[in-house]
């Protein structure tokens, strides 16, 4: 069959009906553009979340109270106040155990909220009672003064370290917060240091750090901790560290089987995985919605092809009278619909890339253009052309030449 000529013929037909061609391609353009834009956006946000989670430390293990299976907080088991099964003693036992060879640093944290006041300023702020290694494990940098020390912790000192955003809001106008007095739930605390504000995943940027013992005994009157953070020696030893840690804690808590554990351990890898799954689900969902518009576009193509076939009944009759076989007629109309969708697909790709560049710039996300999604988009538009073009093409090929020639 003379495919090239059928192509030329189709192009000339599509060119003759410019407005109609444009309008019917528009459905595909919009569909493909939204699929590409949403896929790119999904990828970009996933990448951005991954980067944020990784900035928390790739070799960090988080021990949370409550069992793995019945966590009331769903998939993200970061510091929560849900359970009371972990204590400061657990953290110290982990740090001192001879059997644990894959862990080098341990920190415990108790997190709650308290009313903080400075002069006339007043705010409800997250309080993190932390042990010495906390800052190092969570990659929190000191900006001014000093951090919470072991000494502070042992002596239950009423010292505190504030994040820079707290310094800006609560201590507004104070040039050097170190040495200032802040009241927490009525108790006077001395600011000894300022850290950078971390606004990572699962972290609030407004945080006041106190020694853990102070938070437990002076502020909140509790014995448990919210989380224990454990740093593994090496990223590649995470699994081993998780096992050593788990079995030690089971022993400490007098529990025999891991299934009954009253704590759970998660690594950044776990969190990444969960977050990845969530963003993937969202991306899939949104892309699915966009795909619906693609189907609607396809129906538009089918509609216009049916009109074309009716309009060109006489032409089809002439072609058949001159010896065109059914296959040739089918091919001719299929080429026309596929051309329509492929042109729409290409324009959709360009539009989609434009939209996603604009959106990722606006949301300051990394702009990742995936070649695969472009390839898929073009392939999909081709398939749509075939799927929605086949019925009109068959209809054309089935026309009886006498009937078609009589058509006015």
């Amino acid at each position: 069959m003379q495919l090239i000529e059928l192509f030329e013929e189709s192009i000339s037909v599509l060119k003759t009906n410019r407005l109609r061609t444009g309008l019917s391609a528009l459905g595909i353009i919009i569909g493909i553009a939204s699929v590409i834009a949403l896929m790119t956006l999904g990828q970009a946000s996933q990448q951005s979340v991954t980067e944020k989670v990784q900035s928390l430390g790739a070799n960090l293990l988080t021990v949370s109270p409550g069992s793995q299976n019945s966590s009331p907080h769903g998939f993200l088991r970061t510091s929560s106040n849900g359970g009371t099964t972990l204590s400061y003693d657990d953290a110290e036992a982990i740090a001192e155990s001879q059997r644990i060879t894959t862990i080098d640093k341990v920190a415990a944290v108790y997190t709650s909220n308290a009313q903080a006041s400075y002069g006339a300023n007043n705010d409800n702020i997250q309080i993190s009672g932390v042990s010495e290694n906390y800052f190092e494990l969570r990659n929190i940098e000191l900006m001014l003064g000093r951090l919470i020390t072991k000494q502070d912790d042992l002596l239950v000192q009423k010292n505190l370290v504030i994040s820079s955003s707290v310094a800006e809001d609560l201590l507004e106008g104070v040039t050097n917060p170190v040495g200032e007095i802040i009241r927490l739930n009525g108790n006077a605390f001395t600011v000894v240091g300022v850290t950078e504000s971390t606004s990572g995943f699962g972290q609030s940027s407004d945080v006041i750090y106190t020694p853990l013992t102070t938070a437990q005994n002076v502020l909140f009157g509790v014995n448990h901790v919210s989380s224990i953070y454990v740093g593994a020696i090496d990223e590649n030893l995470m699994e081993e560290a998780e096992n050593q840690l788990g079995f030690l804690l089971l022993e400490l808590h007098g529990i025999e089987t891991p299934d009954d554990a009253d704590f759970s351990i998660s690594s950044q890898g776990d969190i990444l995985e969960t977050v990845g799954e969530v963003t993937q689900t969202f991306t899939a969902l949104l892309t699915g919605i966009a795909a619906i518009s693609l189907i609607v576009g396809g129906i538009g193509i089918m509609n216009i092809m049916l009109v074309t076939v009716t309009e060109r009944t006489r032409e089809i009759g002439i072609r058949k009278a001159l010896g065109a076989k059914r296959k040739v007629i089918i091919t001719q109309f299929l080429i026309e619909s596929v051309l329509l969708t492929i042109v729409g697909g290409f324009m959709g790709v360009i539009l989609g890339l434009g939209i996603s560049t604009l959106l990722t710039n606006m949301m300051s996300l990394p702009n990742t253009i995936s070649i695969i999604s472009i390839g898929i988009a073009v392939a999909v538009s081709c398939v749509i052309g075939i799927v929605f073009g086949i019925y009109p093409a068959q209809k054309a090929s089935k026309l009886q030449p006498i009937e078609a020639l009589r058509y006015e």
Binding site: M1, Q2, E5, S12, V13, T16, R314, E315, G317, I318, R319, K320, A321, L322, G323, A324, K325, R326, K327, V328, P401, I402, L405
Partner: protein
């Protein structure tokens, strides 16, 4: 070379049965110039559709170059239309978007003849009908007579066994009609078999044989007044 035996075509629309053709038989030999004439409703269009392999008879036989056309499938019929029959329609039936050369090339495209050869043959066919200067004109740039000449060139392009013309001059003024019929005369003299379907006696008079159809039956089948008319022109 053409033989129809007892051709019958019955149309059923609801309860009414119409016998468009009722036992038509004749033979046409190679090189004949036949006019099939009859009033409207006489069945001549139906006969032309069957002869043109556009339709199949209800019963009877149609043998074209010793091929029995009666029980052919759709694609085989398309092949017959492509290779054995050259159609000339009353309404020209050219493709409006295509130039003369492209229109003439169309049957050759369906026969999968290479593009270059097609072009050469199309130019040759246009020369035969006297349109060498209108290769690239679209149909709307041509007069009725010129359009019909393009259509004849198209019918000739595959060098078919029969040229089948359905009221070829029906839409043309007398002068152009005569020119078209002259072309058919010439083609017949060169050995082409020509069958013209018409309701005009003057057109039929130019054929060497006239088959008259009435109510789906052959009323008469006799030699035309061809010679006499030529004398009259002299």
């Amino acid at each position: 070379m053409i033989e129809v035996k007892d051709l019958t075509k019955i149309y059923n629309s609801g309860e009414i049965e119409t016998r468009a053709l009722d036992g038509v038989s004749f033979k046409i030999k190679k090189g004949e110039f036949v006019a099939i004439i009859g009033p409207s409703g006489s069945g001549k269009s139906t006969l032309m559709h069957i002869l043109g392999a556009l339709d199949s008879p209800t019963s009877g036989e149609y043998i074209l170059n010793s091929i029995n056309v009666k029980d052919m499938g759709e694609d085989e019929l398309a092949g017959i239309r492509n290779k054995e029959i050259g159609f000339v329609f009353q309404a020209y039936n050219l493709l409006a978007r295509n130039s003369s050369v492209k229109n003439v090339s169309l049957p050759m495209m369906y026969a999968e003849i290479p593009k270059k050869e097609r072009y050469e043959k199309a130019v040759e066919a246009l020369k035969i009908v006297g349109l060498s200067d209108k290769h690239n004109n679209a149909p709307n740039e041509l007069s009725g007579g010129q359009k019909q000449r393009v259509a004849i060139a198209r019918a000739l392009s595959m060098n078919p066994s029969i040229l089948l013309a359905d009221e070829p001059t029906g839409n043309l003024p007398t002068r152009q009609s005569d020119e078209i019929m002259d072309i058919f005369d010439d083609l017949n003299k060169k050995g082409h078999t020509v069958i013209v379907i018409t309701h005009e006696n003057e057109i039929a008079a130019r054929a060497k044989r006239v088959i008259t159809l009435v109510d789906g039956k052959i009323l008469s089948d006799k030699k035309g007044k061809h010679e006499r008319i030529e004398h009259a022109i002299d």
